[in-house]
């Protein structure tokens, strides 16, 4: 009998995790089929600037995300409870994650385990490293369209717009600040990082910038391609498909987000790529 598979909170392991996770009650884990996951972006193995810019799904942002889950530990390392990642148990958690990745050799599109073996264990973020001025960090957070990390300070116009994001089968919800994203692509990247069940990475890997119309339609293409659908609850309490309306209108009316499984999303608005492209 093999050693019990270590799961991090995302539960990225081989396909049989589905069965295992329903049995285990102690380990908090999503139920995701690894074969449908894209831990890295397609074409990610090439060192092209374009791909790398948008980053893989599960980066070390996990260490930032871990603050909520430090009590949920898988390696026996004690909960640190600390947000400032000073190595220690956080690093242990990272190594735990790394183990998961390395076991996941079967995932074909996944280049990450190879990269990690080359570089060694994932390192936890350290306070004050790399030595970038916090003020510059904050400036960059708003400047870079790629950066969707919630952990970055929210500057913007001063107002935050935190909405809950739930995902079916997940044991807990997340909250994100919609104001720090500027279009659907950024939102999708951020959610991707957070939940790593999207294959929306394809959207950004082509280096598509600019008009929301294009990204909206791509978003929806991919949403329907994968088994996850992103929906939101608007001011009227209705559940809508994300991507129909221009970004500004969306963040105005969005009250919460929900990532649903494909089968449950039947009945929502079908693709309307033509509608999107004609807008603007």
């Amino acid at each position: 009998m093999s050693v019990p598979l270590e799961h991090d909170y995302i539960g990225l392991s081989d396909a049989s995790s589905l069965e295992r996770s329903t049995e285990s009650s102690n380990i908090n884990v999503f139920t995701l089929k690894a074969t449908e996951l894209s831990l890295g972006l397609p074409g990610f193995g090439k060192n092209s600037e374009e791909n790398a810019k948008f980053g893989p799904v599960v980066k070390n942002y996990m260490s930032g995300a871990k603050r909520g889950f430090s009590d949920v530990n898988f390696n026996g390392s004690g909960p640190s409870g600390k947000w400032a990642l000073n190595g220690g148990s956080e690093a242990d958690l990272c190594r735990g994650v790394n183990c998961v990745f390395e076991k996941n050799q079967t995932s074909s599109s996944d280049v990450k385990p190879v990269e990690e073996e080359k570089k060694g264990p994932v390192k936890a973020q350290v306070v004050g490293w790399p030595p970038i001025r916090s003020f510059r960090k904050n400036t960059m957070a708003t400047n870079l369209p790629k950066s969707g990390d919630v952990a970055e300070a929210n500057l913007g116009s001063g107002e935050c717009l935190y909405v809950k994001v739930s995902m079916d089968g997940a044991p807990y919800l997340r909250k994100i600040d919609l104001k720090i994203y500027r279009n659907y692509a950024e939102l999708s990247t951020a959610l991707e990082k957070m939940f790593s069940c999207f294959t929306l990475g394809q959207c950004t890997s082509n280096g598509i910038k600019g008009r929301d119309g294009l990204t909206e339609s791509k978003l929806k293409d991919l949403l329907h391609g994968s088994e996850c659908v992103l929906t939101y609850e608007d001011k009227d309490g209705d559940w809508m498909l994300v991507g129909d309306v221009p970004w500004e209108m969306f963040i105005d009316s969005c009250k919460r987000l929900r990532i649903t499984k494909g089968s449950e999303a039947i009945g929502l608005a079908p693709r309307s790529t033509a509608k999107c492209k004609n807008r603007n």
Binding site: G40, F44, N47, S48, E49, E50, A52, K53, G55, P56, K59, N60, Y61, G64, V111, K112, E115, E116, K119, V122, K123, Q125, V126, V127, G128, W129, P130, P131, I132, R133, S134, F135, R136, K137, T139, M140, T142, N143, L144, P145, K146, S147, D149, L155, G156, S157, G158, K209, R211, N280
Partner: protein
């Protein structure tokens, strides 16, 4: 105290030297009457030169102190405001630096100190005609800014960099009350941005503005007021707007101020084009005096070419807010043949840096910032080959700040061979403890090559996997080194001992997370008075070691910052600096002066 002893001490800018002790003989040595001496000395602006002048004899000391107009205080706790005003009666301009540099990276707790208010209250009485105040890493409150605005009627220039504790309300006070304001330079700070209405507080009568920089603020300002301000300030030469200013608005501003020498744009893209891009391009063409361009947020291949007509005379291009790709940078640099300083994001990649090497032969300074600093895996960024490519094409390069994920010893050796004139070499390999990724050896030889090959090296920041050998090289060869930054490096006390035993010109040493202990700290006992400061955090220092140092060297402040988590005997964060002002009187509870 004899003269020789004093000269070897490398006295800092302000010193409470008793004039009677400087030199017993004065008249035979100094035949010049004050009327001659003072005007001559007033032409000397360098602080180091003025320090030297003040040490010659009593007469020169006095002539110097009466003729000095600008005082530079590198550590606000090294001297008290009373001492400063006592020595220099006629100061018009003050530069003050406060917190240790690692506070920029969140290593210094809030409320540590460096409050500017106590300084202002003393300065207001002694220098009512103060004109300029430049602050770096000081705690500045709105009350301080209001006090400044109300108590200095001739006040002309305010520059704030890496300061915190204030809001745009403080700026309102400055804009409202400083009738002769010529410079308002708000660089990256921890400012509470409550809105853009501070800009509208400039009175209609204000026409003296020469420098206006609000690029780091986020709130929208009233554009009409800004346009009117720019129009009536005919001497405006530096204008750096924030991201809320769009291209159309920028166009209008440029038409009003074609005399600008430094421009910081706003958002440099737009969805809807109200005016053809050709117009904006022509406008840039008409700005014949531009030397610096920065800002350029969100720009891309569609809009960046608009600045090409202004590029031929540019000497400084700051692209650190524009995530350009390699070809975009290359196309731009073809036009920038006069470039001396270039700041970019690592999104440009090695290919972008090759373009730098190809098109900018006069380049002296290069800074490559990481677009995604906390990304640890699978990032492109720049590598050693980009670094080498720049060095090949830019032999005059002497200042580099380079963030990367991988480096090799051979590449660094090649770089310094191509550019032996380095004065500032700051290499940050972002993965902690990363060895030479080709040979898997430590990066010792890289920095060894740097210190051996670059005799003029003044500032060095090391990174990567480093053993004590690096520090042996530094101590042995870096004779002109003044500033050294070390993180996660070294194997034992020897490392620090080597540095403290060599490097005769060392002024600032900052160390974090290195295995240096008390023995190493104490080996530098006699050196610390010739330095401005030493920072050591997360090393192996104990309270006892620090107490010994404090006891032996009464003219140093040995401050330990207590961390909740560290044990009582550990000295987790230690900040040591020379001072003539004695222990801090405003130290917060977590700072213990031993």
């Amino acid at each position: 105290m004899d003269l020789n002893q004093k000269r070897t001490r490398m006295v800092d800018r302000v010193d409470s030297v008793d004039p009677d002790l400087v030199s017993p003989e004065s008249t035979p040595m100094c035949p010049f009457p004050d009327e001659v001496l003072e005007p001559v000395l007033s032409l000397i602006n360098s602080h180091k030169d003025r320090s030297s002048v003040s040490l010659v004899c009593k007469d020169w000391y006095n002539a110097e102190r009466w003729s000095r107009r600008h005082v530079f205080i590198g550590n606000c706790y090294s001297v008290s405001p009373e001492i400063v005003v006592g020595r220099f009666p006629k100061i018009r301009s003050v530069t003050l630096k406060g917190k240790p540099r690692f506070s920029d990276f969140n290593l210094v707790p809030e409320d540590w100190g460096a409050d500017v208010y106590p300084w202002l209250s003393v300065l207001a009485k002694a220098y009512p005609f103060l004109e300029e105040l430049r602050l770096k890493r000081m705690a500045v409150s709105d009350e301080s800014l209001e006090f400044l605005a109300m108590n200095f009627p001739e006040f002309k220039a305010l520059s704030l960099l890496s300061c915190d504790g204030f809001s745009t309300d403080g700026l309102k006070a400055i804009a409202t009350h400083c009738r002769n304001l010529a410079e308002l330079d708000i660089q990256e700070n921890g400012i509470d941005d409550l809105g853009g209405d501070w800009l509208s507080c400039f009175p209609e009568t204000l026409t003296t503005l020469q420098v206006l920089n609000f690029a780091s603020l986020n709130s929208e300002v009233n554009f009409n007021d800004l346009e009117k301000l720019v129009t009536r300030c005919k001497s405006l030469r530096v204008l750096k707007v924030n991201r809320t200013i769009n291209l159309d608005q920028l166009q209008k501003l440029l038409l009003r101020a074609p005399q600008l020498t430094e421009l910081g744009t706003g958002t440099f893209t737009q969805d809807l084009v109200t005016r053809p891009v050709a117009d904006l391009e022509a406008t840039f063409g008409s700005c014949k005096n531009l030397l610096t361009i920065s800002g350029l947020w969100d720009t891309n291949s569609l809009y960046l070419p608009v600045i090409y007509p202004a590029c031929a005379s540019l000497t400084f291009l700051n692209l650190s807010c524009a995530a350009l790709r390699s070809f975009e940078l290359a196309m731009l640099l073809i036009h920038c043949k006069s470039l001396r300083r270039l700041w970019v994001l690592d999104t440009v990649g090695d290919m972008g840096l090759e373009a730098v090497g190809s098109w900018c032969p006069l380049l002296e300074e290069l800074r490559v910032f990481p677009a995604d600093p906390f990304e640890q895996e699978n990032v492109a960024g720049v590598t050693e080959s980009g670094f080498v490519a720049v060095s090949r094409g830019c032999p005059k390069l002497h200042y580099v700040l380079y963030f990367c994920h991988q480096m090799t010893n051979a590449a660094v050796a090649t770089v310094v061979q191509n550019c032996p004139g380095f004065t500032h070499f700051r290499l940050c390999i972002m993965n902690l403890g990363q060895p030479d990724y080709v040979t898997n050896e430590p990066m010792d030889e890289a920095f060894g090559a740097v210190v051996r090959t670059c005799p003029n090296l003044q500032r060095l920041a090391v990174s990567g996997l480093l053993t004590d050998l690096t520090f042996e090289y530094i101590g042995k060869y870096a004779k002109n080194l003044e500033i050294l930054s070390v993180a996660f490096a070294g194997s034992s006390d020897l490392g620090l001992k080597y540095v403290l035993g060599g490097c005769p010109r060392l002024r600032k040493l900052e160390i974090r997370d290195c295995p240096f202990g008390n023995a190493a700290l104490l080996s530098g006992l006699t050196k610390y008075e010739s330095m401005r400061s030493l920072w050591m955090s997360a090393c192996n220092l104990t309270m006892n070691g620090c107490r010994v140092l404090a006891k032996e060297m009464p003219r140093l402040n040995v401050e330990v910052m207590k961390d909740e988590d560290s044990e009582d005997s550990q000295a987790h964060k230690v900040y040591i600096y020379r001072t003539v002002a004695g222990p801090r009187r405003d130290a917060p509870p977590f700072v213990l002066t031993l």
